[in-house]
């Protein structure tokens, strides 16, 4: 079990002939992901590590019947790649690309409202269900099967926490990186809803950061959940008005500071970890 992807998920890789796309396709295949094909316009008919490459998503969809697509397309072409996946009826789209213009993402997200696809990302490490499948770029070696769901806006910090959990014998049902951009396809609440319904998930770790109100917006749902949620928010030392690496990580006079988020969680009675080690301690206390 776990959420969003499992052993049976048929995964397409858009941008498979690129440097990162080909490397990550191989990594995913080694993890056990059922990769059914790749897409790069103009490279149809070729192969990458034995994976068939098609010129378009619709062509690949016709031949391979994918459930999901992982996108490694450069920023200026990435929105187009997402539209192509949506129009081909791909159910789950994971966009890894960092640096997509926010106006492109607003158009994509509006378009998604009348489509049946779900978009994870962009600017995210994707999804891993240990022992089953990986649609993204998280390092293969850090995961361990278990009952903790993880949802995060970050990349390497997510790896750090997964690794720490695994080393302490705490396995994960599924880990989801929703991305560090200001406008993205899937919110904390969306992922929490999946975890709440997933029988394999017993508790959830939510990793947030400065900028926007995605953390605060999840509180209403967390309070209704039957499963405990442990939150961890980074960026206490971030000065307002400065973008901290991720395009979406910017606090302003209007809000979005780490302290505001932490206070909101605490006020709602949601567990707050002050550092990665504390996440482990709190989970061990709960379980």
């Amino acid at each position: 079990m776990g959420i969003l992807i499992d052993k049976t998920t048929r995964v397409l890789v858009q941008g498979i002939t690129g440097h990162e796309g080909s490397f990550q396709a191989k990594q995913m295949a080694e993890f056990g992901t059922n990769i059914v094909g790749g897409v790069t316009p103009g490279k149809g008919g070729s192969e990458v590590y034995g994976i068939a490459v098609f010129d378009s998503v619709s062509e690949a969809a016709g031949e391979t019947n994918p459930d999901a697509s992982v996108i490694f397309v450069p920023p200026r072409f990435a929105a187009d790649a997402i539209f192509e996946a949506i129009d081909s009826g791909i159910e789950l789209i994971v966009c890894i690309t960092e640096g997509i213009p926010v106006h492109d993402m607003m158009r994509v997200c509006s378009y998604l409202e009348s489509a049946s696809s779900r978009l994870i990302g962009p600017n995210c490490p994707g999804i891993t269900t240990p022992g089953e499948s990986k649609a993204g770029i998280m390092p293969n070696s850090i995961h361990r099967q278990g009952n903790i769901g993880l949802v995060s806006r970050s990349g390497t910090l997510t790896y750090e926490i997964i690794d720490l959990l695994s080393r302490n014998g705490i396995g994960q049902s599924t880990s989801v990186g929703i991305g560090g951009d200001p406008v993205s396809g899937t919110s904390f609440v969306d992922v929490l809803e999946f975890f709440e319904k997933d029988p394999k998930t017993h508790a959830v770790v939510l990793v947030g950061e400065i900028g926007g109100t995605a953390e605060e917006d999840s509180i209403g749902f967390i309070k209704q959940m039957s499963k405990p949620v442990i939150s961890y928010v980074v960026g206490i030392s971030a000065p307002p008005g400065k973008t901290m690496g991720h395009a979406g990580a910017i606090a302003s006079a209007g809000g979005g500071t780490a302290l505001e988020k932490i206070e909101a969680f605490e006020k709602a009675g949601i567990a707050v970890a002050k550092n990665p080690t504390e996440i482990v301690r709190i989970i061990k206390d709960i379980i």
């Binding site: 509006s110 990349g155 390497t156 790896y159 200001p182 950061e209 206490i236 901290m244």
Partner: protein, 368 residues
């Protein structure tokens, strides 16, 4: 990237949004000449910060001599640490009424948000606090763009009698917001004056991710932020004395927070990105150590795409140049190879983020 008022007004002008006539100048004599042509003028410091008025960076001058004197005074000023090198001198428009008009991105709603308030001239955050009911907000579907009725509703909330003229400005501002990939396009105040409406101030922020299709170039300042950006990294200067180099923005913020928890103060935020290699590590170390306040440096890398042995090689190459003690934590891809390479050197190797943060704070303190 934030635009200067002058640049934003040029864009407004090019898109038929009315702005007062004016020029960008850098010496008092020019201010005198322009005032001779325009009559009463407003002289405005062109610096990238708010609160110019309060700091004395904006002055009204009713004759050329006064314009000269004010320009001379403001050109010698520094506002919030920023020297004033350029002034916008423009025709004074006496506002009968000052309003607010702004377009931003609503992250939660994932679409543009237009805000209008009949009370302008102060920050929107301030308006939101003092008279929230006076702000009218309308979300725009980015696939259809702004509808006429939406522009009309917003305009009516500002001034029913002149709503046609205001609606026209709103639609033009939305056009600018889209065409220039803005994350903010703001007219504050929008003045209702004797001879029409005018954008008395203009703020535009352009999405850095859209630079490939926009014709903007960031001002060269020679700052560490700029050097980092040119090398595909992200640096933000802070006030403390612990230098930080981390791969990934989230882990970098977490590392800074840990340093604070252990009683230290970070000197900077530095994200060398997920695919950092030997060469980038060298550049990163040079950038961070060039800050004279730095007493100790932490390098925290969780290798996924990044290979720890490559990171180690980059560090070793510049060790002879670095005076501050180094605390290094390498985890993930090729971590054992990376650690083995570093063992011969006088650096502190840590096995977790917490251990590294605690060690670097101690080293920073002992040096004092």
């Amino acid at each position: 990237m934030k635009l200067y008022e002058y640049d934003a007004k040029e864009i407004f002008k090019g898109n038929s949004i009315p702005v007062p006539e004016g020029s960008l100048i850098s010496n008092p004599g020019d201010a005198e000449n322009i005032a001779g042509k325009l009559g009463t003028v407003v002289i405005k410091a062109q610096v990238m910060t708010g609160g110019r008025g309060k700091a004395g960076g904006i002055a009204k001058a009713s004759n050329p001599k006064e314009a000269y004197k004010s320009a001379q005074r403001i050109l010698g000023m520094s506002i919030k640490g920023l020297p004033v090198n350029k002034l916008l001198v423009e025709e004074y428009k006496k506002p009968d009424k000052e309003m607010y008009l702004g377009i931003t991105i609503d992250r939660a709603a994932k679409c543009p948000l237009i805000m209008a308030s009949p009370e302008g001239g102060i920050d929107i955050e301030e308006i939101a606090k003092t008279s929230p009911r006076k702000i009218v907000k309308i979300h725009i579907n980015p696939l259809t763009g702004i509808h006429d009725y939406q522009a009309r509703m917003l305009a009516n909330s500002l001034n029913k009698n002149k709503s046609l003229m205001i609606a026209d400005i709103i639609k033009k501002l939305y056009r600018v917001f889209i065409d220039y990939d803005c994350t903010l396009a703001e007219i504050n105040p929008l003045a209702d004056a004797q001879d029409g409406f005018f954008a008395l101030d203009a703020r535009m922020v352009i999405d850095d991710n859209a630079f490939f299709r926009q014709d903007f170039r960031e001002e060269e300042t020679g700052s560490l932020e700029e050097t980092a950006k040119k090398n595909g990294m992200s640096y933000v200067g802070l006030d403390g004395d612990i230098g930080c180099i981390v791969n990934g923005a989230g882990l970098a913020m977490a590392t800074l927070d840990l340093i604070k928890q252990y009683g230290g103060e970070p000197a900077n935020f530095m994200d060398v990105r997920a695919g950092a290699n030997e060469e980038q590590m060298k550049i990163a170390l040079r950038i961070v150590s060039s800050n004279k306040k730095v007493k100790a440096i932490i390098i925290n890398v969780f290798g996924g795409l990044t290979k720890c042995d490559e990171v180690a090689r980059g560090i070793i190459d510049v060790i002879p140049e670095i005076k501050a003690p180094l605390v290094i934590r390498l985890a993930g891809t090729n971590e054992n190879e990376g650690r083995a390479l570093l063992e011969k050197y006088r650096v502190t190797l840590a096995s977790s983020s917490e251990e590294a943060a605690s060690a670097v704070v101690k080293l920073g303190n002992s040096d004092r």
